[in-house]
Symmetry: C2
């Protein structure tokens, strides 16, 4: 397995990315290689400073950087020797099995649609992430920000994409799917959510559990998959971040609240494209970068893109 890591992307690149890369090695087996994509000089200097053996990595030298503030589409097409564009090119040509970056999110999405493309039959790709449940399960929620306005058929298809994710990446057999809503009754919510309910009810091979309210999230009552539009998903994720922050500020100690830390999750796969790609938070430092690499490995192991191609 070959995992590409964009060393130049993120607020703390390249140093924090290289540190996370070194840490991630202990989680990779001998047939799993990490390919560092970025400025070779900077990479070697940092590895030397860390007393890490450069031979542990493959290094692909790039000369350009897509900055965090760059216009995504423009930068992607103009900087074809940037780490992001090179990473996507390697993905497309089969030189990588997975690619991850904490760099310019917009450029990562441009690369996803321009270079590797959407899986035929997928209406709209989504960003998915894991919500830790108090009973030690992990659930998957999608979309968390790619599509703030979702039509009903898109939401309904997210139920399928999420189920595939839960089954193959998280290992949940016959995952339950909840439609996020503001009441349990079928007639609740916006017209879009009501229409999505009708579509999801009729889907074969879906373990549809009906509507789920936000007070059931993170608890035993949480379904294995949570479907919502990207606006609501983003609110849920960021509100969990707020409460985790408050928990830390108040100097409380609890193993469950510790699990809410986004740094433990590391990144967000783009679900529905022809490759295994994980996007990290721009503010990622050493530990979340390590976790992003581990998560990319898991997505590649699950062969998520292929499983979606087969399942859609």
């Amino acid at each position: 397995m070959r995992i590409g890591l964009d060393v130049m992307g993120g607020d703390f690149a390249p140093d924090a990315i290289i540190e996370g890369a070194v840490d991630s090695l202990q989680h990779l087996s001998v047939d799993e290689s990490l390919i560092l994509i970025g400025d070779k000089g900077l990479i070697l200097r940092k590895l030397n400073e860390m007393k890490a053996d450069p031979a542990l990595f493959e290094i692909v030298h790039t000369t350009q950087v897509i900055e965090m503030g760059d216009h995504p589409a423009k930068a992607y097409s103009q900087k074809q020797n940037s780490s992001i564009a090179v990473g996507y090119g390697m993905l497309k040509s089969g030189m990588l099995d997975g690619f991850c970056s904490a760099g310019n999110t917009g450029a990562m999405l441009v690369g996803a649609s321009y270079t590797v493309g959407v899986i035929p039959g997928v209406l709209r790709p989504a960003l998915a992430t894991v919500l830790p449940c108090i009973d030690n399960r992990d659930s998957v929620i999608l979309d968390i920000g790619l599509n703030p306005d979702c039509k009903a058929d898109v939401l309904s298809q997210y139920a399928i994409l999420g189920s595939i994710y839960a089954k193959y990446v998280l290992g949940t057999e016959n995952p339950t799917v909840g439609l996020l809503n503001i009441g349990e009754e079928e007639a609740k919510g916006t017209s879009t959510v009501k229409a999505a309910y009708e579509l999801m009810k009729e889907q074969p091979n879906l373990n549809f559990a009906g509507n789920i309210e936000a007070n059931a999230l993170f608890r035993e009552s949480m379904t294995d998959v949570i479907v919502c539009d990207g606006f609501v998903g983003n609110v849920i994720l960021k509100l969990a971040e707020a409460f985790h922050h408050i928990y830390k500020t108040r100097k409380l100690k609890d193993s469950y609240f510790d699990r809410l830390d986004w740094e433990n999750i590391g990144g967000t796969p783009i679900v529905g494209i022809n490759a295994n790609v994980v996007i990290g938070h721009g503010i990622s430092k050493r530990r979340p970068i390590m976790n992003m690499v581990i998560q990319t490995k898991e997505v590649v192991h699950a062969n998520l893109a292929q499983k979606i191609k087969e399942g859609i």
Copy 2:
């Protein structure tokens, strides 16, 4: 000041409502009276059981009950001697300054629009509630469930309604207003939220602070007013409930997380109608009922309905 309390509404009515009523008396001054609306026999029996003096209350006898499962509009028009319909009638005729109930929410909303009516100029009334901030401020969020689908002009007007609430009920001078969104930049979010941003930016007399992301909520970074549609507001409120529940389950102790308890807030005013009305949670027991009465008193003191009439 005369506050009407629906004794027959709520999952634990009438006993828990009467218990809360008795407790609330210590928070009312001599010129503030509480009027119990419900079955007089049941009320007297419960007061007697509690060894509470019936002379402390005015009792308005009603013979019908709108059940929690009743069809709101049908029940409201057919049960004109129910505590909810009688309460609204008294509000309309000026025999009450405020009215609160933990009963059938739908019927409470029907009464609001049928009997007391929407304030001219208000596009859509909202349900507002208070979010406790870690810096000891209270912010107001609206809508939290009345209008899951909000147009941009409705959101923009919520900024005004919320500012009036913050100023007169919470005592916040020149309250800051945030538009809940999934990014800080002006161009983020759904088309509706983007349009609302443009409208809010142009509103005179509004202390508009731009977009606010969910990870800024409950923290120092929270604006005094948070504007969102009823779907998103409901998700935020219920997610806070989930985290408070987890906090309790994990047996953590913290004065801030304690403040997140919805029982401390007690109820949700209907903002934008011609009367001061507060709706309580159906599962309210003694303490939240007491807090609902106190909150109604504060809304009446602020003369919220009148202030909105003047401010719109």
